[in-house]
């Protein structure tokens, strides 16, 4: 937590209510029909769901449960029902008449909202359980697709700026500063109580304290399992053992789970509505993030589903193992893709968000300074505007010689740092304009960089991101299969060739060259 966040929490505590964290929203909130709110419950100690609630906000959710969360076949049927709707909602090839196309636009964004990170992790568990399962009978294909989509949703959730899956409590924490400990802020009910309770600080603390007594995580309160569900399951077992009907106990189990699921689902739905109806504007840079997310969805999920559905075309799909890559090139490429997303995020949003800029100044990624000299260092007819910018010596920064900076509010201009000197009084930065240097900067006095009128003006600069280069490197990983040392970097996997998913046969992991070139005939 930064000192600025401490300061925001102090302010929020003083006011007695959460305060906006940033000037804009950093996440698109899709319209309700494009949103699926999903909540899980599971039996303690188990990885697979015991029940799932899903549906669009404002519409009665579907809630399905099984009597015993340890019975795999029953759980698989439950997941197949859920999977059918999830795959259709996400417009995954083969499971909808309207799959998301390669050239998808912003309106094609389909979102999944979950109450918190524990529910998000359930998608990872589904990937483990089903992405490579050989079981499931007639539902096997459906379960495999559900597993693959779940794996992609889970992986993509950790890509900075991802837009398809939304952890509702993280979204609220991103949008607001709450005067409370981090550990408490994982509870969606706690956050919503802070946001929606009228009255004084004490009233809100009381409401939030009451809200957090009810579990939101997929794992239910141990007391509920001990005092109700365990007894019902024991009675059910006895009834079945005696050859009697256990429908009474099963109904009661379903009722308990229904109530638990509905509470989680409603909380998530409320969070969605709260953020959707907040009066803060969406950061214009989010559209770029949505475009990137749609590309990720297509190439990492949809394209693989197309290959799987069309085996005659001879293209080998790459199905990521839920645990790790077991595949050097894929790991390198994905790492660089995620690194590029991380680099791009700040530079995409910072131009329209003063609070985000102030955060960046506090951690040295952006600076404020005054232009003290403007020169043209070009030779002949070539124009090369150069600036000298002075900053307070106490300003901490991460600007380095040879690095690039972008003026806040004019993202298409950029300059190279050609010199940096530091005295006890001030820091002097020498800049040489490269990008769009003959066009007026669209901020401040809105003049060309070579205009001497910039002298005396205060300017805000942010370190330029190198995400384009990083993205390019991620693509180059695959092209390197014919380059020097390819025998080492693109050879057979050093990791076990069999992805060992317990008690189930697993697909062999192909070596890199086979992945790239397709199966040998």
């Amino acid at each position: 937590m930064s000192v600025r966040e401490v300061k925001r929490r102090l302010r929020a505590w003083d006011l007695g209510e959460p305060i906006p964290r940033f000037a804009t929203l950093h996440h698109r909130v899709a319209e309700p029909r494009r949103v699926l709110v999903v909540a899980f419950v599971r039996m303690a100690g188990e990885s697979r769901p015991w029940g799932i609630a899903w549906g669009s906000p404002g519409v009665e959710p579907k809630i399905e449960t099984v009597p015993d969360g340890r019975v795999r076949d029953a759980v698989a049927s439950l997941c197949a029902n859920f999977g059918e709707d999830l795959l259709e909602h996400m417009r995954v090839h083969n499971w909808t008449y309207d799959p998301v196309p390669k050239d998808a636009g912003i309106e094609d964004l389909q979102q999944v909202w979950v109450p918190n990170g524990q529910h998000l992790a359930m998608f990872h568990q589904l990937a483990y359980a089903y992405s490579q399962t050989k079981f499931g009978g007639s539902d096997r294909q459906l379960l495999n697709s559900l597993g693959r989509l779940s794996g992609w949703l889970f992986r993509d959730s950790s890509r900075r700026g991802s837009q398809h899956i939304v952890d509702a409590s993280a979204a609220l924490r991103e949008a607001f500063s709450f005067p409370a400990e981090d550990a408490r802020q994982a509870h969606l009910g706690f956050l919503l109580a802070w946001l929606t309770t009228a009255g004084t600080r004490d009233d809100r603390i009381r409401a939030a304290g009451t809200a957090e007594l009810s579990s939101v995580s997929p794992t239910m309160n141990p007391a509920l399992e001990r005092d109700q569900l365990a007894l019902l399951l024991e009675e059910r077992r006895e009834s079945l053992g005696n050859g009697e009907s256990a429908s009474a106990q099963e109904d009661q189990i379903a009722n308990v789970l229904h109530e638990e699921l509905l509470r989680r689902w409603l909380l998530c739905s409320d969070a969605y509505e709260f953020i959707r109806n907040t009066d803060r504007k969406l950061n214009p840079g989010v559209d770029d993030l949505v475009s990137d997310s749609l590309k990720e969805f297509f190439w990492q999920c949809q394209a693989q589903e197309i290959k799987i559905a069309n085996p005659d075309e001879g293209k080998t799909p790459f199905v990521s193992h839920p645990e790790t890559d077991f595949h050097g090139s894929s790991a390198a490429s994905r790492y660089l893709t995620f690194a590029a997303a991380d680099e791009k995020y700040l530079n995409t949003l910072i131009h329209d968000d003063a609070e985000l800029f102030s955060d960046a100044v506090a951690d040295g990624r952006a600076v404020r300074g005054t232009v003290v000299a403007v020169r043209d260092e070009g030779e002949g007819r070539k124009t090369t505007p150069a600036w000298t910018v002075r900053m307070d010596a106490e300003t901490g920064h991460r600007i380095r010689e040879g690095g690039r900076v972008v003026p806040i509010g004019s993202r298409k201009h950029w300059a190279t740092v050609t010199g940096l000197t530091q005295t006890e009084i001030e820091t002097t930065v020498h800049l040489e304009w490269d990008g769009n240097k003959t066009k007026p900067i669209t901020t401040g006095i809105e003049s060309k960089p070579a205009d001497p009128a910039w002298v005396g003006e205060e300017v805000s600069l942010v370190a330029a991101d190198g995400s384009d280069i990083t993205s390019w490197r991620s693509r180059r990983v695959w092209a390197a299969k014919d380059g020097p040392g390819a025998w080492l970097t693109h050879g057979s996997a050093t990791a076990p060739l069999i992805a060992d998913i317990a008690s189930e046969a697993a697909e062999p992991i192909l070596d890199d060259v086979a992945q790239i070139e397709g199966p040998s005939t």
């Binding site: 300061k7 568990q125 001990r226 569900l229 839920p322 317990a502």
Partner: protein, 356 residues
């Protein structure tokens, strides 16, 4: 003693859980007292009208038992295969020594005393052997030769492997948890608690060997192994070569603190879980509230309320607590709003707040 059923035995059985509880917030005197004297925090909370919210689900306990039992079934076939695959054992030709109590799924050992005795015998036998036969040992029980937990500190180590390096036996401790191992996404808290426990085992085993005069003949590996589950199954996922050096030294520091607390005991025999005088002692002890308390302590709501009344910055998070420390929230707000600082400390806080 046939089986562990008396309060004394209950206290013994819970030794590891008590140490874990203490390690969750070692700065809190109430927590330390509770761990050393076996005063249950849920009982203490209930005595002042709080509703205990922690405790384990019967399903989680059953799952854990099933998993552990499965590992040791058929001469520990499942565990052995996983240990060989992960390089913890050189060969599947290893023997299996089962020191589990009968009540914990063992077949031979009937009581705590017997378990302690057999563990001692086993260590002595290993000390004079020169291999080459490696072994898996289930649940050796050791008594920590220090007064860290009252009435005595007994630890059941989940599993130990015996291997040989240059004909010298090396013991490696293993910690078994039912947590799903999700590769790089495994819950950090699960990993941390498993590593902490394995470090505690390592230290306890070293101390036991030292006390038995076997240190010249036996080595304890600085590394351990963790056994988790593959998600959604009862198959083990082994994390080998976990360096336990820092966890063991942390456990040693913990022992020192616990011993000091144990030394201040009033009655050496009143360690029952719900003894009213001891509950009151825990309730009266100074506390050190932190976010960590929310995950294990039933008294946390009381301590939070106190922190709130004191306007302690900890209620805004650990970072805020570290930065503002003793400065109450109202005063911090005043400084943030530009009021004149009255000390160097306040001036420093104001400078930090102004700069950001």
């Amino acid at each position: 003693m046939e089986e562990m059923s008396t309060p004394l035995d209950e206290a013994r059985r819970n030794t590891r859980a008590r140490f874990e509880q203490w390690a969750s917030n070692p700065k809190c005197d109430a927590n330390t007292l509770s761990a050393v004297h076996n005063v249950r925090l849920d009982k203490a909370a209930a005595s002042i009208g709080l509703t205990p919210s922690f405790g384990q689900s019967p399903f989680a306990i059953a799952r854990g038992n099933t998993f552990e039992r499965g590992l040791f079934t058929a001469e520990a076939e499942r565990l052995r295969t996983a240990l060989v695959r992960s390089g913890c054992l050189p060969t599947t030709e290893s023997s299996f020594i089962d020191l589990r109590l009968r009540m914990n799924g063992g077949t031979k050992v009937k009581s705590v005393d017997e378990a302690l005795e057999q563990t001692k015998d086993w260590l002595a036998a290993v000390a004079v052997s020169s291999g080459p036969s490696p072994a898996i040992v289930a649940a050796p029980m050791v008594r920590i030769p220090r007064g860290v937990i009252l009435p005595e500190a007994l630890l059941i180590i989940d599993a130990v492997t015996v291997t040989f390096e240059a004909e010298r036996p090396v013991l490696t401790v293993g910690e078994i948890k039912v947590f799903p191992d999700r590769g790089g996404h495994t819950e950090p808290a699960h990993l941390a608690s498993a590593r902490a426990q394995a470090g505690l085992y390592k230290l306890a085993l070293e101390m036991t060997i030292e006390a038995a005069g076997l240190a010249d003949s036996l080595d304890v590996s600085p590394n351990g192994f963790l056994v988790f589950t593959w998600p959604g199954s009862n198959q083990p996922s082994v994390r080998a070569n976990e360096d336990l050096t820092s966890q063991a030294s942390r456990a040693l520091r913990g022992f020192d603190r616990l011993e000091a607390s144990a030394g201040a005991l009033v009655h050496p025999d009143d360690f029952e879980a719900d003894e009213p005088a001891l509950i009151q002692k825990v309730l009266d002890a100074p506390v050190s509230y932190s976010e960590a308390c929310l995950s294990f302590c039933d008294l946390a709501p009381r301590c939070y309320r106190r922190a709130q009344e004191d306007e302690n910055a900890l209620i805004l998070g650990a970072e805020a607590g570290r930065m503002l420390a003793e400065i109450p929230l109202r005063r911090a707000v005043e400084l943030m709003n530009g009021q004149q600082p009255t000390s160097d400390r306040e001036a420093d806080i104001q400078r930090q707040l102004d700069m950001s």
